[in-house]
């Protein structure tokens, strides 16, 4: 399993939520609201990448972004491998 690095950018609407930003392959920020329990060490579990091309990976986020996307392209350095406990 893999995780994608995120940056916390604000509070969610519910006290249990937070807004995080993911850096896409073209350097843009995609923001999404997630439950605080989903965040571990500044990353979110995303399963496995779906496609790859030229060092970029298509991933599916755990929630729909504020712009309405579930899947985004990210660079390899945005991914972390999750080590089994």
């Amino acid at each position: 399993m893999y995780r994608v690095k995120v940056r916390t950018v604000g509070d969610g609407q519910h006290p249990s939520e937070t807004v995080v930003a993911v850096t896409t392959a073209d350097g843009k920020q995609e923001e999404l609201i997630v439950d605080k329990r989903s965040l571990e060490g500044g990353s979110l579990r995303i399963g496995y990448p779906l496609r790859s091309k030229a060092g970029e990976f298509l991933i599916e986020l755990p929630r729909e972004t504020m712009r309405g996307s579930w899947r985004i392209w990210v660079r390899r350095n945005q991914l972390e491998q999750e080590r089994a406990a």
């Binding site: 439950d35 579990r45 496995y48 972390e80 491998q81 999750e82 080590r83 406990a85």
Partner: protein
């Protein structure tokens, strides 16, 4: 060995789509579904489990009035800079429902709410649907607007779009059983859970984190 790809086996697997109360409890006991806090026995029906309303709600504010004229806020979801949750934040204010008085929801008013229960589907190949309760629907209360799907891998509280379609105010209260959750097995493995296509292709990253 059964041919898992045959039409018959696909039909057989596809037939078992909705979890019964017994299966839901087994999944919860085995931590394949996390519902926190765990539902009480009275929350179950044969093929669903009721969830409760969290006290926090988001109430849409009325557009400002300038010189006696109400200003119209137009929402443009297809605009490149549009961010749905930012728009909702601007257009709403959060309130905590007082458990004694409740919140009187007037006819034709939309508010946003959350389930009290936290849901985690990451350990199973289940998706779910959040649906209203018929007892409340008959009064005109709906809890979602065309978006009932809880996708496989979901983690969090379920957001509710609550509208009173009836003719009389309906008082909603924290902890009331407001919706029901129906769990469905998925057929096959979603791309994101399928490791095979990337075995050995992603180089080991420099930093690793521990699984929760």
């Amino acid at each position: 060995m059964a041919d898992m790809g045959s039409q018959e086996s696909i039909r057989a697997r596809a037939c078992r789509v909705i979890l019964t109360d017994r299966e839901i409890k087994i999944y919860i006991k085995r931590k394949l579904i996390i519902v926190d806090p765990e539902p009480e026995d009275i929350a179950y029906q044969s093929t669903a489990v009721d969830l409760r309303l969290d006290p926090t709600i988001s109430v849409f504010t009325k557009p400002p009035t300038v010189s006696g004229v109400q200003q119209i806020t137009r929402i443009d979801p297809a605009h490149p800079d549009f961010k749905a949750d930012e728009a909702i934040r601007v257009l709403t204010k959060n309130e905590n429902i007082n458990s004694n008085d409740g919140y009187p929801l007037d006819p034709d008013i939309l508010i946003l709410g959350w389930t009290k229960e936290f849901l985690d589907l990451r350990q199973s190949r289940l998706a779910a649907r959040v649906e209203g309760k018929s007892s409340l629907a008959r009064l005109g209360l709906s809890i979602h607007l065309t978006a009932p799907t809880i996708h496989a891998g979901f983690q969090g509280r379920i957001r509710l779009e609550i509208i009173n379609h009836g003719h009389h105010p309906i008082i909603i209260r924290p902890d009331m059983r407001i919706c029901q959750l129906i769990f469905e097995t998925t057929l096959g493995t979603p791309d994101k859970d399928y490791e095979g296509q990337f075995v050995g292709q992603l180089p080991e990253p420099p930093a690793a984190t521990s699984a929760p």
